[in-house]
Symmetry: none
Subunit: 199 residues, 4 copies
DNA sequence: CATGAATGAGCTTTCATTCAT
DNA sequence: CATGAATGAAAGCTCATTCAT
């Protein structure tokens, strides 16, 4: 009900909650969680700090709500992955979809990446860790050689890194994203070949 | 014999500076930079906050001094790399040495990884970024295909990730480290093969 | 009725800002700007330091706001003076009105006089200097002999001095103020006669 | 014994005490007493703070010693004045000599003028106030009209003001000093004429 | 649906001062 | 004659949070 038919969030009138989330994420990603004060968020929205507390119980809850909203696709992806057969093609599909999911919530993931120490102590810290583990387990064959397990983790990290580090590498952004995904796909493919060879 | 006859404690010798650095790094890595207060550092050393300021001008400077001390090997590695021919073997040697360097300053790198948002605003942020670029440029052949460039960056990130994410993967630590390095070596090797094929 | 039924105190109405200004000026004048801490101001008002920061951005701003409020009459006096003909009677009127203005903001001027070194580094320092120059230029005939220019400056300073130094001279305060003004008036009159004689 | 035959202070070797006084006064005058820290003084002398404590018991004592050294001429002037007959010529001589005394210790007097609030709470505060009173009593005829008493005080203040305010008035410094003194002399002369007329 | 006013806890930093060596 | 190391106290300031209106 907070979502209109075309999938965008409503702008009806009581859109303040949404605006808070947007600005908060923007600032969290830009400056970090600790260095972003509620005063700053409030000022940028031209409301009072107290108004934030009308919509959210705590600062942490603002972040949590953003996190929950924006990572649902990934949760779903993992659930989907768990129900698929552990074939190479499944894994490659997961990599593809994960890359997409990352791209559609770049600021949040940038934030998560750059504020790990902070996030760890927050409620969402555990949730995130669990999700990462879920993703890993869906890619990794537990019987596989250690190297191949590492390759899968490496694939995930390559996707993450691709979002930020490659910003300052010259070249067409789309081509870069494609290249990043190619490397990631390569890694899971090699990992799978290893497993296959052994079995 | 840290206690004199009259019962007062004495930290004997001018090792306080060093002890501050040690405790600070420990806490920074554990809780993050912002969440670690000077009070906490001081208390753990059983000195007053003011004592910290005798040895360091600011909180930031404590971190900077630790960083400078602990990353010198990496600086040297990059310098060394720049003077070597851009052969595959050179690159593989760099990966090996970099892995070692990371291992011998794990807490610092864990800190850097988990506090990127904070570090970015600090003096060491730029230094670190420069160093990463240096490392990248020493591994990457600028004429190489984009995929191969990504492979090199991915190799570095694999090493980083290896330090932390793999902690919660079962298995012998040494073997894990070896596996991580194997993947990284593989990545630069593949990257080189790509360049070679083209040329 | 500053106390509600449940015994908690209430400063009723939004007069806190004003009360802060009053107490601050009182303490600044009494002890100097630097020696007056925000803790002291807050304690005397029975609020927390943080409450001061709700109403003013910095310690300096508290002073600035007091200054702005209390010196407006002088600003207006100078503006008025600039639009009058440069006659002796105008100048005498300025002296009279300036004396009044000083009297009605004695604590502030006492403060300005006794904290010049501090004030110089503050935002209001420049404003004050400008205002003093404005006043001077309205009294002084730029073509006048140096002695006569000095006489005008001396007149202003006599008024200032009168507020403080004469406190410990015996006698009726009103008569003293009158005497001070007479001397100041005398000085500008003599200064004017000098100019007149020359022209 | 700390003074060489030609009256200048010794530079023998143990000149540190003197250097401390010089630098301290310079900084006190420039920035004010409170805003000048011992660290700053020590740094500028390239010694440690502890060294200052070898030569002086407290920060206040540094200032006190400078004050004592530099205001001795004025003390003597007052003593001299008290032993002279209360004639106009005596008074004029006092004005002249006081002007000279001021000129030869400008930084100190600038400091005293601009840090009254601070000085008031210091040991030298009372001493200074007493001296000012002494000077006043030597100029003022206690039976004189109030206006004439004010004129004398005004004369002193004119001399003080002359040192600072007139800095930003254009013209040859020597001529300005002369003009200031002329006005001061005028004031005491007029004051005397008043007394004379009455008597 | 939001604000105005305030708080309590905490922060980084600075200062004058001390004292064993 | 001076330093190296440290302290206790306090400063200005910021923050997340609360609550009556």
């Amino acid at each position: 009900m907070d979502v209109t038919m075309d999938g965008t969030r409503h702008q009806r009138r009581g859109n303040t909650r949404q605006r808070i989330q947007d600005v908060a994420l923007e600032l969290f990603a830009e400056q970090g969680y600790e260095k972003t004060s509620l005063r700053e968020i409030a000022e940028r929205l031209d409301v009072t700090k107290a108004a934030l507390y009308y919509h959210f119980k705590t600062k942490e809850e603002i972040l949590a709500s953003v996190f929950d909203d924006l990572t649902r696709p990934i949760e779903e992806l993992i659930e989907w992955g768990q129900q698929q057969p552990h074939t190479l093609e499944t894994k490659r599909e997961i990599v593809r979809r994960y890359s997409e999911a990352l791209a559609s919530a770049t600021p949040l993931f940038r934030f998560m990446q750059e504020n790990q120490a902070t996030v760890r102590e927050l409620r969402i810290g555990d949730t995130f860790k669990d999700r990462m583990k879920g993703l890993r387990d869906v890619l990794i064959d537990p019987d596989a050689e250690l190297v191949d397990q590492v390759r899968c983790v490496s694939a995930i990290f390559t996707l993450h890194a691709g979002m930020f580090v490659l910003q300052d590498l010259e070249g067409d952004p789309d081509k870069k994203r494609q290249a990043v995904m190619d490397v990631a796909l390569d890694l899971v493919t090699q990992a799978d070949r290893g497993s296959a060879g052994r079995s």
